[in-house]
């Protein structure tokens, strides 16, 4: 059987792979995407059954190590205080994400110039702004214009409802004179491009059976496939191969039956995000690249950035109806976003208000925090907790550190025998101080909103949703892996389009920026098709 060939072969059908595939579809090239997971059937999502909360702790857990599905690869994150979260399917982690969808700020691309730390990006906000706008339309972003924390922007859908919980917290921010604003959310608050509106079911983190939350299986992919892109599921790429000329010439992968196959390609695009991408590159060794593909700088896998999270939960006297509404999207505060050296750290953080716990999770949270006894006193204590909590998370800006890394585990492998990633990560002193500051300010605002008690979880362990920096972008091949439009310095027909190319992390959820970057890269590729592999 002859080996299939693609003009462009994309690895990974998540946030970035989908956006890039959609954008490239109008070139009419033969574009193929290989995805290790499968399509997710909305009817099979946990929110369709009463036992949905238990499934969030088991087969729909954030952690691939807990889910342990065939399509998941294990991650050794024992040497990290933050555990990796992801999802492997068409749509990738957008299936499980909260759909909190802020943009980076102009200052986030200039941290070296402004604050003397890390590095500036080789691109700026103005470069990405038109792609944020395209992405807002494609994903269907809800929000309110006029946020003084951002340059002007228009979003296609009205904001998510605050509910009693959000309104209560907003009043707390107002009492302190602090900034807050309704969250930018990739959630259809009314019908959008064929998607049904949000019904406030509160199940965002186990998939949205309604189809209101913008996961790329229901946004970009249907359009890309109609445009001719071929998406092949249950195919796990083992390595990207190179020819004698040192250019990528295809991939070796395992199909749904575990059979090893090869797919040749003129251009290869990696879209596996901040852990999957370095894992794949490090597994792609050859005589040209004995230390891993595109790794002559030695930076593949280095500079891993999470967003260290602190969670502060307030317990109130009155019911807040917090089980209703988009789980992670309500309001955001950027009062402490920018550097103020008097605080004892550089850069800053955002606060995001999250809804309260549904019945089972209220009990489990009460148990783990020691606030819910078993025995005769249980019912009284539960009645004082259930629907009386409001949570806020601080999402802090992690700075790049080469010691924080993704490497290959010497022992751990996935179901196809491919070496698994290992995380080495230490929380920096700067991040620790930022978390402490955020916890104190979080308590202030919850108390200003009327909380009678606050409970802290910091740093949150199961919070490694945002995976960035492990194949960073730059103009110098000695200090970066890809150029300002995602092309690997070392391999000119190999592109990376996911969170691994971030130079810095900002202090907001990254998916919107990941997709804006993917759209920017696709656009640059299209404009340079005639000389795509030429020198910069």
């Amino acid at each position: 059987m002859s080996e299939p060939t693609a003009d462009v072969l994309i690895i990974g059908a998540g946030a970035s792979g989908a956006a890039l595939a959609w954008s490239l579809a109008d070139t009419r090239m033969h574009i193929v995407c290989l995805e290790q997971g499968d399509w997710v059937d909305p009817a099979a999502m946990p929110g369709m059954s009463v036992g949905w909360e238990a499934r969030q702790a088991t087969d729909w857990n954030f952690s691939p190590n807990v889910r342990n599905r065939r399509e998941d690869y294990p991650v050794n994150d024992q040497a990290s205080p933050i555990a990796v979260s992801n999802f492997n399917a068409v749509g990738g982690s957008t299936i499980l994400y909260a759909a909190h969808f802020p943009r980076f700020h102009p200052s986030d691309f200039r941290v070296r110039t402004l604050d003397g730390v890390a590095d500036d990006w080789p691109i700026d906000y103005a470069r990405l702004e038109p792609w944020y706008d395209v992405n807002a339309r494609m994903m269907g972003v809800a929000g309110l214009a006029g946020d003084p924390a951002y340059p002007p922007k228009e979003l296609p859908l009205p904001p998510v409802p605050l509910g009693k919980l959000g309104t209560t917290l907003a009043q707390g921010f107002n009492r302190l004179g602090w900034h807050w604003w309704p969250s930018d959310s990739a959630i259809a608050t009314r019908e959008h491009e064929g998607r049904a509106p949000c019904i406030n079911a509160g199940t965002c983190l186990v998939g949205c059976a309604q189809g209101a939350k913008a996961s790329t299986d229901i946004t970009y992919w249907p359009v890309a496939i109609r445009g001719g892109v071929q998406l092949v599921t249950r195919c796990r790429v083992r390595e990207i191969t190179v020819g004698d000329d040192g250019m990528a010439n295809g991939v070796v992968y395992y199909d749904a039956d575990g059979v090893e196959r090869r797919w040749k390609a003129e251009v290869v695009v990696v879209a596996c995000n901040g852990v999957g991408t370095p894992r794949l590159l490090l597994n792609s060794r050859s005589k040209h690249f004995p230390d891993g593909l595109a790794n002559r700088s030695g930076l593949v896998g280095k500079n891993l950035m999470f967003h260290p999270y602190a969670m502060v939960t307030g317990v109130f006297d009155e019911p807040l109806e917090g089980y209703k509404g988009p789980t992670g999207c309500c309001i955001m505060s950027q009062e402490f976003y920018d550097t103020d050296v008097r605080r004892g750290f550089v850069r800053g953080y955002s606060f995001e208000i999250v809804r309260s716990f549904p019945p089972v999770y209220a009990a489990l949270w009460g148990m783990t925090t020691g606030r819910l006894p078993w025995g005769a006193d249980h019912h009284r204590a539960y009645a004082e907790l259930f629907d009386r909590t409001a949570g806020m998370v601080a999402i802090t800006e992690d700075l790049p550190d080469p010691a924080n890394s993704v490497t290959l585990d010497p022992d751990l492998v996935d179901t196809n025998g491919i070496p698994a990633p290992r995380i080495n990560y230490t929380l920096s002193e700067n991040s620790s101080r930022m978390l402490a500051h955020a916890v104190a300010r979080g308590r202030e605002v919850l108390e200003a909103a009327g909380a009678r008690e606050t409970i802290v979880d910091s740093p949150m362990r199961v919070a490694g949703w945002h995976l960035m920096g492990t194949a960073r972008m730059g103009t110098d091949p000695r200090t970066s892996v890809v150029n300002p439009w995602g092309r690997c310095h070392d391999v000119r027909n190999l592109f990376i389009v996911d969170g691994s190319i971030f130079v810095t992390a900002a202090a907001v959820n990254p998916t919107n920026t990941i997709q804006a970057l993917a759209l920017h890269i696709a656009d640059t590729m299209k404009r340079n098709l005639a000389n795509l592999f030429d020198a910069d």
Binding site: M48, E53, R110, P148, A201, P359, A363, G375
Partner: protein
Amino acid sequence: MADFTSDDERMLTTLLETILPPSTDGRLPGAGGAALVRHVASTIERMPMLRTVVEYGLSGIGERARQRNPVGWDALSAAERTAVVREFTAENEFFLPGFLFLVYTGYYVDPVVVRQFGFEPRPPHPAGYAMEAEELDALLAPVRRRGKMYREV
């Protein structure tokens, strides 16, 4: 479904009732109903680690009960059962998190229980929950008054 012996099932039922007795006002049932026993049995089939927790707990608590009364767990009063479970869990810290996961994931989906907290006993989808959009202008007025706050580059 895990195949408990009749002795195990009887002990599990009363252990569940010890962990979550009925509320004093009678509005909330205890956890010892047949539905929760079935929930425990079916869950540990899918999650073998929890089967170990349950089997270890039943065995250890049973042994400790026999130290109090040779007839064992069945012969103990409610207060004695509570004391035995407290002793056992104090020495076996891993038991409660796993066991309470089983209890809470079954108990707090019980239609009788969730109705007491104002919930309809149904999945969140497809009906969802009604929420009204707020009038934000007044609430946001103080924020708007501060003016632009993002950093120029």
